[in-house]
Symmetry: C2
Subunit: 321 residues, 2 copies
């Protein structure tokens, strides 16, 4: 049984080999460039951890983990096109560096190569894992579409927003764990608990992400605070504020969003605080974390094997404000 860090190091080294042919260089350079930007590789490591919860790492788990990471990077390349994002991790996005057409095709071919790795799975696992992978991939596309749709709507309910986050972010974390568990020989019941651990952890993570963008420690957070506020981005905070604010506060909030004054961030933050949005979000995050940990608790394996997954939750979710 390995720690999160040990598995992450192991996976990163394995993932550094080339995944693409040399030619045409004009296509595959874009794929190699994007993968070279790095990342925490959380999802593939979750796949390995899901496997190790139930037994020795199956050789096919590395193929599945690679497919998951390639799939995730495919979605990032295409999302960056859709968001017209110039930078990711402080480096040029693929479409900025290579043009939209190559970014589009580079993403497409990366998805196909992900399926090539899945096709290395031996025996009856192929069918089962492909099924979950496809379902998850469809849901991630649906979540991205809902995110686009929501940006154009004046109001989105908390329930609708959570559903979108589940699809766009959580299901891939959940499925990564479950695919590993399936290779580890887990029962259907245990697979379901692990999936729900990942799904709730993902929602907690997104709430934290929204929270930190507004209330984080700028030094720890590593990017400018209030980026979401500046862009009028729908977040857990904004959606809840619009639901609970008094009429005058709500009026002011909507006006700030429309007029974009220079002191917009500090004024919106003041409204958020007056509505206790910060405390609400922190408590909601805790609720989802607790729900996640309960599903891990309910997974029928000896508790010592669960330690790396608790370590993962600690790595992803801060316990203290």
């Amino acid at each position: 049984m390995h720690s999160f860090e040990a598995l992450a190091l192991d996976f990163k080294q394995r993932f550094e080999i080339g995944h693409f042919p040399a030619a045409p260089e004009s296509l595959y350079a874009s794929c190699n460039y994007f993968l070279s930007l790095g990342g925490k590789r959380v999802r593939p490591v979750m796949c390995l951890m899901g496997n190790e919860l139930f037994g020795e790492i199956h050789p096919d788990a590395y193929h599945v983990a690679t497919a998951i990471e390639l799939f995730h990077n495919f979605t990032l390349i295409h999302d960056d096109i859709m968001d017209a994002a110039p930078l990711r991790r402080n480096m040029q996005t693929v479409h900025t560096k290579y043009g939209i057409n190559t970014a589009l095709l580079g993403g497409d071919v990366m998805l196909v190569v992900a399926y090539d790795y899945l096709n290395k799975i031996k025996g009856a696992n192929l069918n089962k894992i492909l099924h979950l992978f496809n379902k998850t991939a469809r849901e991630v596309c649906e979540g991205q579409q809902l995110d686009i749709d929501f940006e154009k709507l004046p109001f989105v309910s908390l329930e609708e927003y959570i559903h979108m986050i589940e699809l766009k972010t959580s299901v891939l974390l959940a499925a990564s764990l479950q695919m590993g568990a399936m290779l580890g020989g887990a029962s259907d019941g245990n697979c379901q608990h692990l999936y729900n651990f990942g799904k709730n952890l993902g929602i907690a993570f997104q709430i934290q992400d929204d929270y930190l963008d507004a209330f984080g420690d700028p030094e720890k957070f590593g990017k400018d605070l209030g980026g979401d506020i500046k862009q009028n981005k729908k977040t857990f905070l904004l959606i809840h504020a619009l639901e609970v604010a008094a009429p005058a506060q709500k009026q002011e909030l909507l006006q700030l969003m429309q007029e974009n004054p220079a002191d917009k961030v500090s004024k919106v933050l003041a409204i958020f605080k007056a509505c206790n949005v910060d405390e609400w979000a922190w408590a909601l995050k805790q609720q989802y974390l607790d729900k996640a940990l309960q599903h891990l608790e309910d997974t029928a394996v000896v508790s010592v094997r669960k330690k790396p997954l608790i370590q993962l939750a600690d790595f992803l979710i801060q316990r203290e404000q």
Copy 2:
């Protein structure tokens, strides 16, 4: 054993069922819209024909045929974005009607759904067919990238152009036949012959397409002649003309391409004819057709079973000028 027309009718009816969930409607409406534009459904029918050449149609052949047609439509949706094409089959393209972001996502999810159909394949065939499908999908992406690259280059050799056409167009026709053949229980040797039949037929078809755009009968062709010439599109005709034209002719051709005068089409056609490009292209098309038919001839099944495939070649390739 069924005729091309009978199989096409059968497939079209089966393909008309819904392939996508109802929600989110903002995503799946784009997929349903594009499929409703129709098409000849040549590739899935080739899959069924490849199967029937060797035996009864395997139930999985319909799943594979569906996956192939969805894959083909995914490439068309993304190609239309890359080409900034406003229309396809005289109807709005997906990105024109629904915006680029939804067209991008709609294509992505259509590819995932194609893999869902492949995952219905039973037993050991799944592995083999997925392998060929993935290889082909990668090649189609590579061909599209080369096509984009070539448009920016001043000169492209005939060899390079044929290689691009093979990847962009031919390998999917070839693989469609081979996947069917695999389900029909064909030997590796027969699979290879059938693949090469499809590959050479695809090249012959593209030569014909380029030829008809310049020299076709406008009434039969159904679109304006000279579209490729107006756009300076690299075609078999232009590439060969630039290779064989006398220095003065070549100079004139390059000048016409640069200056785009009102009488450009007729002047370029005159140069093509003076260089015998029309006869050369017709003969080259015939060479590839003959090569294709030789591979069909070399396929070890009784000749009566080959009739529908010869019918297919006749349907795709005109024998008379």
